[in-house]
């Protein structure tokens, strides 16, 4: 579904992403793990197009997206969430989601008709809110949500664009155990409709969710495989998992 060939990005002298080949198959939850600074978030940026890549090519459902603008990639069915919560903080939950629905339903170069009259937008936004468990908080502005709720909205914004593939950058960052469980349940629910590329540090979550796992280290992909293979891969053990899995 998504295929990266020799994708690379450097910042000055630092090679952040170094010739990564990666294939994400339709319908899978594909986890991308690796220590801090391995280049995971940069890679997500390259795929979403929020950061231009220096080399290689990105193909998504037979479209060459290597040089496509971020909004064109969203239109093609690629959406992302951010590691650091990025929502419209002064907009209500409903307005946040309606705005994302609006982005891919009809032209927004419309200047006369009040949005408030477009009930279809808000109906769909409510459906997304139900999907991410925010129905009770529809009218709360983004900055009054709890951390866990903000993370749910973050994922909801990505889902509201009705993507074919969603890039989730550490959705569980900073969450307590209970909130994490809720997020895991959410990802399990959405995987029926959407392919997921998941960057996550919570190994428990990764091994419970992922069909396949890719491991990044110093900008390179050092292994890709089923969870059991990754667990037993000596190179991965040495480089990253180490103690955590030895136990």
């Amino acid at each position: 579904m998504l295929s990266l060939k020799k994708v690379g990005k450097r910042f000055g002298g630092v090679v952040a992403v170094d010739g990564v080949d990666l294939d994400v198959a339709q319908g899978e939850v594909h986890a991308l793990i690796g220590p801090n600074g391995a280049g995971k978030t940069t890679l997500i940026g390259l795929i979403a197009g929020t950061m231009p890549s220096d080399q290689g090519e990105i193909v998504f459902r037979n479209d060459y997206l290597t040089h496509a603008k971020p909004h064109a990639r969203v239109a093609a069915g690629l959406a992302r969430s951010y590691q650091v919560t990025s929502i419209f903080r002064r907009f209500s939950v409903l307005d946040n989601l309606a705005l994302a629905v609006q982005a891919r339903s009809g032209s927004s170069f419309s200047f006369w008709k009040p949005v408030a009259q477009e009930s279809a937008l808000f109906d769909e936004a409510r459906a997304i809110a139900a999907e991410v468990d925010l129905t009770a908080r529809l009218s709360a502005p983004g900055n009054e949500l709890s951390h866990g709720e903000q993370r749910a909205l973050e994922v909801g914004l990505a889902l509201a664009t009705r993507p074919k593939l969603v890039l989730l950058d550490e959705p569980m960052a900073g969450m307590g155990p209970e909130e994490s469980q809720r997020m895991i349940a959410l990802i399990k629910r959405i995987r029926a409709q959407v392919t997921v590329l998941l960057v996550e540090h919570d190994m428990d979550a990764v091994f419970r969710l992922a069909d396949r796992i890719s491991v990044m280290l110093n900008g390179r992909l050092i292994a890709t495989g089923a969870p059991i293979e990754i667990r037993n891969n000596p190179e991965v053990k040495k480089a990253y998992l180490g103690d955590e899995l030895a136990a």
Partner: protein
């Protein structure tokens, strides 16, 4: 509240006439024109989050279009006013297309630089008065009424201001308006949910410039004079002060700021209050501005709004 204001505005000229204070009709007309210009700046600055420090360029471009055309003998407002709007919109398109590739303080500086460039262009246009500006032979024609009549002129300007504010109201509640505000709130997120941010911002900038151009066309008629001072950065600063005073990103911010600032200027620069010190009317106005920024950071319109945003 809106209705009361509207009624006051409607009967204002009649009341002034009754009180034999006709001077204030012209003053009020000037306030209405600046209210329109400030409202246009608030669209980019307050709603779009684009801190344009060169808004006088579009105001001045509109004014000079009317000035030059009427100097050349074209005085029909059905030609000159749309031309003023088009010229200002074109200037906004060019300046915006380049400036919007930058952000933050660079955007402020580059819009300021463009406006100053235009200022010097008009200063150097000797055939159109250069430094001294250009006196217009009279007000525009074409409506079948004599716009030299202060009442007719006042009501025409009032009608146009109401029309512009209605248009802005619709615009801000539309899909486009929501996107513009979303970009101000979180540009990265707006991009990530699929909006081509640059196009939206540029169009917003052009719409704002076009409205400022209309206000410029009106001010040229108001004073029957256009001069480079209309494009000077002090003019941009004045418009910005109006918006800040009234309330950045508050719907009534621009108009309220224009009314308050020009009224304060009128009060303090008239000699009765400050006597010989009235030359320094900026000082008390500055103190009041400081007080507003300190104690009502959401502006006057913001302080009176029923609920916070």
């Amino acid at each position: 509240m809106k209705k009361i204001v509207l009624v006051v505005l409607l009967i204002f000229p009649l009341a002034m006439h009754a009180l034999d204070q006709n001077f204030y009709i012209a003053f009020a007309t000037r306030v209405l024109i600046y209210a329109m210009a400030a409202a246009s700046l608030n669209l980019v600055l307050g709603y779009g989050g684009m801190v344009s420090f060169g808004h006088a360029a579009f105001f001045g471009a509109g004014a000079y279009t009317v000035g030059i055309l009427s100097f050349e003998g074209v005085r029909n407002l059905w030609i000159t006013w749309p031309a003023a709007v088009a010229v200002a919109a074109l200037a906004a398109l060019v300046i915006g297309a380049i400036s919007l590739r930058t952000r933050g303080v660079y955007f402020i500086m580059i819009t300021l630089a463009f406006a100053q460039m235009m200022y010097y262009v008009f200063v150097s246009m000797k055939s159109y008065g250069g430094d001294d500006g250009l006196s217009l032979p009279g007000r525009s024609s074409g409506l079948g009424i004599d716009l030299r009549n202060e009442y007719a002129w006042y009501y025409l300007v009032l009608f146009l201001l109401i029309a512009v504010l209605y248009l802005l109201r619709r615009l801000l509640a539309s899909r486009f308006g929501r996107v513009i505000e979303a970009i101000r709130e979180n540009e990265a997120r707006a991009t990530a949910i699929g909006y081509p941010v640059y196009r939206y911002q540029l169009l917003c900038f052009v719409i704002s410039g076009a409205i400022a151009g209309l206000a410029g066309a009106l001010i040229a008629n108001q004073t029957s004079y256009v001069g480079p001072a209309l494009l000077h950065w002090i003019q941009s600063g004045t418009l910005m002060i109006m918006v800040i005073l009234g309330g950045v990103g508050r719907f009534w911010g621009g108009p309220v700021g224009a009314v308050v600032l020009l009224t304060l200027e009128e009060i303090f620069s008239g000699s009765p209050l400050l006597g010989p010190y009235s030359l320094h009317w900026q000082l008390p106005v500055g103190v009041i501005l400081l007080a507003v920024v300190l104690y009502a950071p959401r502006g006057i319109a913001g302080a009176f709004a029923k609920k916070g945003r």
